[in-house]
């Protein structure tokens, strides 16, 4: 095990399980291990805990308990929502509207669907990451089955106007699904008054364990099950319940509901401190995205590369992530930053810091203190930094790769 103390600023990737959650889960492995579907009371008592967790989660969302279906996580919830609706509509409507900045759980699914006979429209965003509402409105047609737009972006934290999108969908008679994996537990959500038909969430983003998630399905929404088998989750998701996960998600939901207002305040203050400190201390820094989650800072350092920054941060025990091509194993920088038209000078050097309730001011100050040295060291190496480049113009590029015709790689980068 890695004994090195870590300053964990990658909470949009995953979070620490809350100690309260851990303590609540443990008895369900060795003592309360019955099957909630069993007739005997040993199993039956477990069912009560599952029901209670469902109520806790419904309370966090402003939903009814029977509108909550437990799944294995965010990707399953997204797949269940989108494929479930398309199937339930019997193939009569074959158009899906989504955005260019969705998580791969939605975006790759859309690409798959477009290969098997569905039509998929991806709505663009502007330089601040805001959704083009006019484009959305124009995209919805008679054939549209579903609009699937995320609540908050995982890379930039940019929030979309869920109420406005939902109202538009209602007016046009189209179902609306939102991937709220990054939003649940970080912003107030009240589905009793929001025009949302389906909402995906994931436990491990809000201090519950990995492998548990949920899908909110508003009463009366036509959805076919993805996983067919037993009668669990009222026939909407077969398979013996992940009881420890469900119990953990219930406790995590209660903690989130009880502490939400205070956490939003504290996280925003810490995040803003980090943002101001880095903008003040580091040359060539710029923030990506406006109107964001309280915990997320996506910041680019011009002319240097994200993986190099991350590895230097790693050396001093700071965990963050990057939208650079090199960190993903692909050769392209983040599709989110490209959709926003972040120039290549900055997209490759983007770092995402995402905070949680467990971060401290000392940790934030430590990053603010060390980041300028890392940035300076890498900028010294870079042939593109203007002050390193007085001697000569860069001649290494072949043609103008940023403007290759037809590839769409930089369509909003002009």
């Amino acid at each position: 095990m890695n004994e090195k103390p870590v300053i964990y600023l990658d909470n949009n990737a995953t979070t620490r399980v809350a100690p309260e959650v851990r303590d609540a889960i443990l008895p369900f492995f060795t003592d309360l291990y019955g099957n909630p579907s069993s007739i005997h009371s040993f199993g039956g008592q477990v069912k009560r805990h599952v029901d209670q967790a469902r109520q806790e989660l419904a309370a966090l969302l402003g939903a009814q308990p029977d509108e909550v279906v437990f799944t294995a996580g965010g990707s399953e919830s997204d797949n269940q929502a989108i494929r479930g609706v398309l199937e339930a509509l019997g193939g009569k409507k074959r158009h899906l509207v989504t955005s260019r900045v969705e998580h791969p759980a939605v975006r790759s699914l859309g690409q798959h669907l477009s290969k098997i006979g569905y039509r998929v429209t991806e709505i663009g965003v502007d330089h601040d990451g805001a959704l083009d509402m006019e484009e959305l409105s124009a995209a919805i047609g008679d054939d549209t089955a579903l609009v699937s737009i995320m609540w908050a972006n995982n890379e930039t934290g940019v929030l979309f106007p869920i109420e406005e999108i939902g109202a538009l969908c209602r007016r046009r008679g189209v179902l609306f699904h939102t991937d709220a994996v990054q939003a649940v537990g970080k912003v107030p959500i009240d589905l009793s008054r929001l025009p949302v038909d389906l909402l995906s969430l994931s436990g491990h983003k809000l201090h519950a364990p990995k492998g548990i998630g949920a899908l909110f399905i508003r009463r009366g929404t036509p959805v076919s099950p993805l996983i067919i088998g037993g009668h669990q989750e009222r026939g909407r998701r077969a398979g013996t319940e992940n009881v420890p996960g469900i119990v953990g998600l219930g406790v995590a939901a209660r903690l989130a509901r009880q502490n939400l207002a205070q956490e939003v305040r504290e996280l925003s203050a810490l995040r803003d401190r980090l943002e101001q400190g880095l903008l003040r201390g580091c040359r060539g820094a710029r923030v990506n995205g406006k109107n964001r989650l309280p915990n997320t800072l996506n910041i680019s350092f011009e002319y240097i590369e994200g993986e190099s920054i991350l590895l230097h941060l790693d050396e001093i025990g700071v965990a963050a992530s990057s939208g650079s091509a090199c960190t993903s194993g692909s050769l392209e920088p983040s599709h989110v930053l490209r959709a926003m038209g972040v120039p290549f000078t900055a997209a490759h050097g983007s770092i995402r810091f995402s905070l949680s309730r467990y971060n401290t001011r000392q940790e934030i100050d430590f990053v603010i203190e060390h980041m300028p040295r890392i940035v300076d060291k890498l900028r010294e190496l870079s042939p593109f930094v203007p002050e390193n480049n007085r001697q000569r113009q860069w001649q290494g590029s072949v043609g103008n790769p940023a403007c290759a015709p037809g590839c769409g790689r930089c369509s909003s980068d002009h």
Binding site: I304, S308, L331, V398
Partner: protein, 285 residues
């Protein structure tokens, strides 16, 4: 998280020869901001024609920085002709290896070196980087660069070409084109008897020699109760030891020359010579 060797991390943390040579005799530049990595290599030659100083500036990930650092260390003290023999595999080997998907960082080093040498030959005039047809517009990769990577590293699949050159790693529109280039170059290499590549690494050379010994030589020797062991290789000299009846055979020199050396030259490299342990070189016919 990438599995970088300690050597890669060490060169990433403390890169050698970072900076600018104001009055460089040769400058090579490859890559671009949009592609995510770029390298400027600057060389200063001494009065003896050898590389007296090499400096670099690199924009890129840890393996790009480490590859640039390794390159400058590898070429210092060499003549330009000697330096031109440094392959991308040499750069990767110097670093104890690179992850397959990061091999393009070593290729970038090799390309910058060739660009610098070209720049010197042209008396410092700018080298047009578009040395041939542009194949991958997203990553700015030309046919010549792809072809060289295929030949020098004996690449077999489009995925390998992408790992080594980045071509095909953007929109993917050029993948059929890369497939066609792969097919053509592979056919050319086979026709030229160049299943035998020019620049084998030591490891690959040993592997090929062992394969050839197993497949082409041992069965014949064993029929006569003999055997052969590969002891070492030193450049193009293959040092072997004959065993069993062969070791006492008066015709062992003939066996080595006519059988072992001929087969190794045919299947591995025409420049090899076989030496029996004890430094008895095989006489040329």
């Amino acid at each position: 998280m990438w599995e970088y060797t300690d050597k890669v991390m060490e060169h990433f943390r403390n890169p050698r020869n970072v900076g600018v040579i104001e009055d460089a005799d040769a400058v090579g530049e490859v890559g671009s901001l949009s592609c995510g990595d770029a390298l400027r290599l600057m060389l200063k030659l001494g009065p003896d024609g050898r590389i007296a100083d090499a400096k670099f500036q690199t924009f890129g990930c840890a393996s790009a920085i480490a590859s640039s650092s390794a390159l400058t260390e590898l070429i210092k003290g060499k003549t330009l002709e000697e330096a031109a023999q440094v392959t991308n595999q040499d750069i990767a080997d110097y670093l104890g290896g690179l992850p397959e998907q990061k091999m393009h960082c070593s290729v970038m080093g090799r390309d910058a070196l060739l660009a610098a040498i070209e720049n010197f030959k042209k008396g410092g005039a700018p080298v047009p980087r578009k040395d041939s047809r542009l194949v991958c517009a997203c990553m700015g990769v030309t046919e010549k660069v792809i072809e060289r990577a295929i030949r020098e590293n004996r690449l077999k699949t489009v995925e390998e070409v992408t790992h080594y050159t980045k071509a095909g790693g953007g929109c993917g529109g050029c993948i059929p084109d890369i497939e066609a280039i792969l097919k053509r170059v592979t056919a050319e290499m086979e026709r030229a008897g160049a299943t035998v590549p020019k620049n084998l690494t030591v490891f690959e050379k040993i592997q090929k020699i062992q394969e050839t010994l197993d497949r082409e030589i041992r069965p014949a020797l064993r029929q006569d109760g003999g055997d052969i062991e590969l002891l070492d290789i030193d450049g193009d000299r293959v040092i072997v030891s004959l065993r069993g009846t062969c070791s006492q055979c008066r015709l062992s020199t003939v066996t080595l020359k006519d059988v072992v050396q001929a087969k190794l030259r045919e299947f591995v490299s025409p420049t090899l010579s076989v030496i029996e342990d004890g430094n008895r070189p095989v006489e040329e016919a």
